[in-house]
């Protein structure tokens, strides 16, 4: 399951546009994989590492 899929499973109400604006997932193609570069959602808290594990 990708980071995007994990976040969507935690917060199913998130919409496509959220991942282009208030939430930015990033992959720098350096082998470290996907990560949350920005989380500025007005009502939903940034998932914890435990939730994403």
């Amino acid at each position: 399951m990708t980071l995007y899929e994990k976040i969507k499973s935690i917060y199913p109400q998130l919409e496509d546009k959220d991942f282009m604006t208030v939430i930015i997932l990033q992959n720098d193609s350096d082998g470290r994989g996907d990560y949350i570069a920005k989380w500025e959602h007005p009502t939903l808290a940034k998932p914890t590492q435990e939730q994403l594990a």
Binding site: Y4, D16, M20, L25, Q26, N27, D28
Partner: protein, 196 residues
């Protein structure tokens, strides 16, 4: 008109001619190359003042899989040209010019999906963060490619500033930056448009 002529015959040297017209011809072997007067510098017909700032063009030479809804750096691993050796095509895939100024940066993208491609955005990242985004293509066509292009004028400090090409794709199935070896599919290029 006054002139400065770089001689091409005899013993050679610089031949100067003076007057009070306020116009100066820059010549080579007696032929005027450019003229300077109160309005500025103008080139003679057929002569060019060619900029020599850094320029590069690099492309992706094989398909690259992209995670959905994740801004992902495109590994532009092949150079067409890189006049100032300022593009890294092996480790960080970025352009770091060592001449300060305003650069025209261009990007092209071909993206596809094994099932359904729903969105594609071409993005320039400056120093690791989103700088500007290109046209957003929201669509729901299946088994199709999307071709996008985008340009922007970006300032570089001439030492540490760099730019990278990122893409955002969304859809179902395997999402791919399509690049079957040829450079016509996914590419970034740029050149110095104006010095700082």
């Amino acid at each position: 008109m006054a002139s400065i002529d770089a001689s091409t015959s005899g013993a050679g040297g610089i031949i100067t001619t003076a007057d009070n017209t306020g116009t100066l011809n820059l010549q080579s072997g007696g032929t005027t190359i450019a003229t300077i007067n109160s309005t500025g510098l103008s080139m003679a017909s057929g002569k060019v003042l060619a900029p020599t700032g850094p320029a590069f063009s690099a492309y992706r030479a094989s398909d690259q899989t992209i995670t959905a809804a994740t801004f992902t750096k495109v590994q532009l691993n092949t150079e067409t040209f890189d006049t100032a050796n300022a593009f890294d095509n092996s480790t960080n895939y970025r352009f770091t010019p060592q001449v300060a100024g305003y650069y025209q940066i261009n990007g092209t993208l071909t993206a596809g999906a094994s099932s359904n491609l729903g969105r594609a955005i071409l993005t320039f990242f400056k120093n690791g963060s989103i700088y500007s985004r290109g046209i957003d293509f929201p669509f729901s066509a299946s088994s199709s490619y999307v071709y996008a292009s985008y340009s922007d004028l970006i300032y570089f400090n001439g030492s540490t500033d760099y730019v990278e090409l990122y893409v955002y794709l969304n859809g179902t199935g395997t999402l791919t930056v399509v690049a079957p070896s040829a450079g016509e599919y996914t590419r970034m290029s740029g050149f110095l448009a104006r010095a700082a």
